[in-house]
């Protein structure tokens, strides 16, 4: 046992998966070192031996073999240790301080490319991004297939283990935007960016924004189409989606897959989404406003039937709707947490039975249940989960304003919301930017 091995053992010996194996390669006694959780040892050894055999058969000197299988180093124990941590295989020559850092056959830790789990696609490409950043970049490269694509990679974080990649198409992307993103990443390269909050901090976005600055997507097709339109994609290692920058208001309504339908159908689908967002925002507030503040707006027949449906309900409309909205949010949150097998049960119990029981117990009115159902369904028409969550939040502001000021408050709430959306920008690119010029080069 020589000094080199001892030093590494002292450092890594308390790791249960640290693997040390003696082997012979071209008559040289070697030691193979690595983590067996990261390295498929059996396959790696097979590859190694095949390699050695072919070199020996051609009567080449063994030095050529060492050069061919990896990087030959001498003495640097620290480098060897960090390489082991990165999942490399160290081949150490016994009784020397020489070693080779080899790229082994990795253990299968990444999931294969799968169909998207959070975004459903009808009539469109069914692949999706996975956790591995290299796979994701590979997918994009395959789809773009152009010499104009630029990929900047960064290693962020204190120990520089967090891989980030910035993708854009030269000539299409706004170069100022690319530079701003690059400068921010380089300036804050020490920050950890394992999640979107960390990344937003790194890019200098305010952390109190209710709307995400990133338009996230799992769909390579969607991401690449945005790339072609001059947007920028960020990949973070271990996050299975592309982050498209800048995120625009119009992205709530337009999914790339829409273009697989005829134009009139596409326009109709997008119109539905616009109606959806309006229904989500307005109906709960409208209910409160009409029922408690401005019943004169209703037609008399409708007013009477609303009054009839609320007969015997003990709480004011605001308390009633907040109560039911809260229960709905709980159901939504619970169905995210729950295992897939019992999820539907809970949804049924929560949605139908609870709703019906609440009506029959005269806690809430029939009409409210209809309104809530419409709201929740309409909310789901918005493209992108991060967007629909934001809209879900805004609806409360409008409900409260509607309860205080009636229809006036409702309209004021919408105006405030529009003003807020208009105040958002990503490095100077307004959130409400809309490409009306017809060409799809920028924004849109």
């Amino acid at each position: 046992m020589d000094r080199f091995i001892n030093e590494i053992k002292a450092e890594l010996g308390n790791n249960g998966d640290f693997h040390l194996q003696r082997d012979y390669l071209a008559d040289a006694a070697v030691m193979l070192l690595g983590f067996n959780t990261l390295i498929d040892f059996i396959k790696t050894r097979t590859v190694l031996h095949k390699h050695a055999e072919s070199i020996l058969l051609q009567n080449q000197p063994s030095e050529d073999l060492w050069g061919a299988i990896g990087e030959l180093m001498e003495g640097d124990v620290l480098k060897a240790i960090s390489s082991i941590y990165e999942g490399k295989l160290i081949i150490h020559f016994e009784n020397t301080s020489r070693f080779i850092i080899m790229e082994p056959v990795p253990a299968m830790l990444d999931r294969s490319i799968d169909s998207p789990t959070n975004e459903n696609v009808i009539q469109g490409a069914l692949d999706s991004f996975t956790e591995g950043i290299d796979i994701n970049i590979g997918i994009v490269r395959k789809l773009v297939n152009s010499d104009e694509i630029r990929i900047d990679s960064f290693s962020a974080g204190r120990s520089r283990k967090n891989k980030l990649s910035l993708l854009y198409i030269d000539g299409q992307a706004d170069i100022e935007l690319v530079n701003s993103i690059r400068n921010h990443i380089e300036k804050n390269i020490q920050m950890e960016a394992y999640n979107l909050q960390g990344l937003a901090k790194m890019l200098g976005f305010p952390s109190w924004n209710a709307i995400s600055k990133f338009n996230t997507t799992e769909l390579p097709h969607h991401a690449v189409q945005n790339l072609r339109k001059g947007k920028v994609i960020l990949f973070v290692d271990r996050l299975p989606f592309a982050l498209i920058l800048p995120s625009l208001f119009w992205d709530m309504f337009a999914a790339e897959n829409d273009r697989n339908f005829p134009l009139p159908i596409m326009l109709a689908i997008r119109l539905i989404r616009i109606i959806g967002i309006l229904i989500t925002l307005i109906t709960p507030g409208l209910y409160v406003a009409l029922v408690s503040v401005n019943p004169e707006v209703l037609q008399i027949q409708l007013a009477l039937s609303v009054a009839q449906s609320r007969e015997g309900v003990p709480y004011p409309a605001l308390a009633e709707i907040i109560f039911m909205l809260l229960i709905l949010e709980l159901i939504l949150e619970a169905s995210v947490r729950l295992p897939k097998s019992i999820g539907p049960t809970i949804t049924m119990v929560g949605g139908i039975i609870l709703g019906q029981a609440a009506v029959e117990a005269k806690l809430v009115s029939n009409l409210l249940i209809i309104i809530l159902a419409a709201t929740t369904i309409a909310n789901s028409t918005i493209v992108g989960f991060q967007n629909s969550v934001s809209i879900r939040l805004f609806k409360y502001a409008i409900v409260i304003l509607g309860a205080i000021f009636g229809i006036l408050g409702l309209v004021a709430g919408l105006v405030f919301l529009s003003a807020y959306l208009a105040s958002l920008n990503t490095y100077g690119k307004s959130y409400l930017y809309l490409n009306v010029k017809g060409n799809e080069n920028n924004g849109g």
Partner: protein, 360 residues
């Protein structure tokens, strides 16, 4: 632009939000099921200048609408409503009053104050219809409450254009009555309603209102002409002649006005498009045209003569002379000019359709 930093302004934001809550007084808001929404407001005067107010309130009862009629008296209408509100378990909210019914006696005495009160208080929508009850109001409402087919909103439906309205019914809103009180050149007609024998209501004609007082009564047929003059649709109207009945499907008119030496002259041409519905015996198109035009012009002139006598300009003929009469003189329109008005009304009949039979 600096993004709004919520953290640094959080205390101020919270304070502002709290003041919003406090300043609005939103705890006074009553939910819709705690409000009583009357559809009809009836007003009559009793002794000592007191108002007796009736409210017709639709009440949802287990899947159907029942109607409740309540009444109270007071020095003012709002006081009487307040009395009702005090005695009811929910608060009375006049926002949805669609029809205001005034007893004939009260209308004849003058309803300037009533109308002005409604315009002032904004409690009742100024779009509410005004009608006159040609019957004792106690009797009217007690008959109504005994009636079997009294459903939630049927009084309102009676006047609804997309429900029971008919071109022989004048539609006059509160603001129009208010306008007529203050205008020199325009008066209004208000439907006269009684309870019917077989139907719930019956229109016996229209009241001519001048300066907020009922001065004259016109018949249902004359109300049709009034509506035609006011461009209210005449669709679906059946006009009975000696030999045929027709339906008016469209009308247009043009006027030629002249004013010489305080003598207004009006030449009107009214074009009617009609459809023949029924004929009796031998009838030709020419006959129908001639008879219809004769009938309408004589009906029109007799109505105008009546109106001139009572100096009430419900057709708004004064409007046509506004450019010709000096502003200072205009206030004399009703008393000086209008009774002198000479009119020459011609009806031009155009039979658009004779139906499936070509026998006329």
């Amino acid at each position: 632009m600096n993004p709004y930093n919520l953290k640094s302004k959080a205390p101020i934001t919270v304070c502002l939000l709290l003041t919003v809550m406090i300043l609005t007084g939103c705890w006074d808001i009553r939910d819709i099921n705690h409000r009583t929404l009357p559809v009809v407001l009836g007003i009559s005067t009793i002794e000592d200048d007191q108002y007796k107010v009736f409210l017709k309130i639709p009440e949802p009862v287990e899947g159907s609408m029942e109607v409740k009629i309540v009444s109270a008296t007071g020095e003012t209408i709002s006081h009487a409503v307040d009395v009702i509100s005090r005695n009811m378990e929910t608060s009375v909210d006049l926002l949805h009053v669609k029809v205001i019914m005034i007893e004939r006696k009260t209308a004849e005495e003058g309803m300037k104050d009533i109308i002005a009160g409604f315009m002032r208080s904004r409690e009742v929508s100024s779009k509410a219809l005004v009608t006159i009850c040609d019957q004792n109001m106690d009797e009217f409402f007690s008959k109504l409450s005994e009636s079997k087919n009294l459903k939630g909103t049927n009084m309102f439906d009676y006047f609804e254009k997309n429900a029971g309205w008919n071109p022989e019914i004048a539609l006059t809103r509160i603001w129009e009555v208010y306008r007529s009180i203050h205008s020199y050149t325009r008066d209004v007609a208000i439907p006269l309603i009684v309870t019917g024998d077989t139907t719930t209501y019956e229109q016996v004609g229209s009241a001519v209102i001048k300066n907020g007082k009922m001065v004259e009564q016109i018949s249902n047929d004359e109300t049709l002409l009034f509506n035609a003059f006011n461009d209210e649709s005449t669709h679906g109207q059946i006009e009975v002649l000696n030999h045929a009945s027709v339906m008016i499907i469209g009308n247009s008119m043009n006027h030629h006005t002249d004013l010489t030496d305080k003598q207004p002259v009006l030449q009107s041409r009214i074009n009617l498009k009609v459809v023949v519905l029924e004929t009796r015996g031998k009838t030709s198109s020419d006959m129908i045209k001639k008879e219809l035009s004769h009938l309408l012009s004589s009906r029109f002139s007799s109505m105008l003569a009546n109106l001139q006598e009572s100096e009430a300009d419900i057709l708004g003929l004064g409007q046509l002379y506004r450019t010709k009469i000096d502003r200072n003189e205009l206030k004399n329109w009703r008393s000086v000019y209008y009774p002198n008005l000479k009119s020459d009304i011609q009806f031009q009949i155009d039979i658009q359709n004779e139906g499936y039979l070509r026998t006329t």
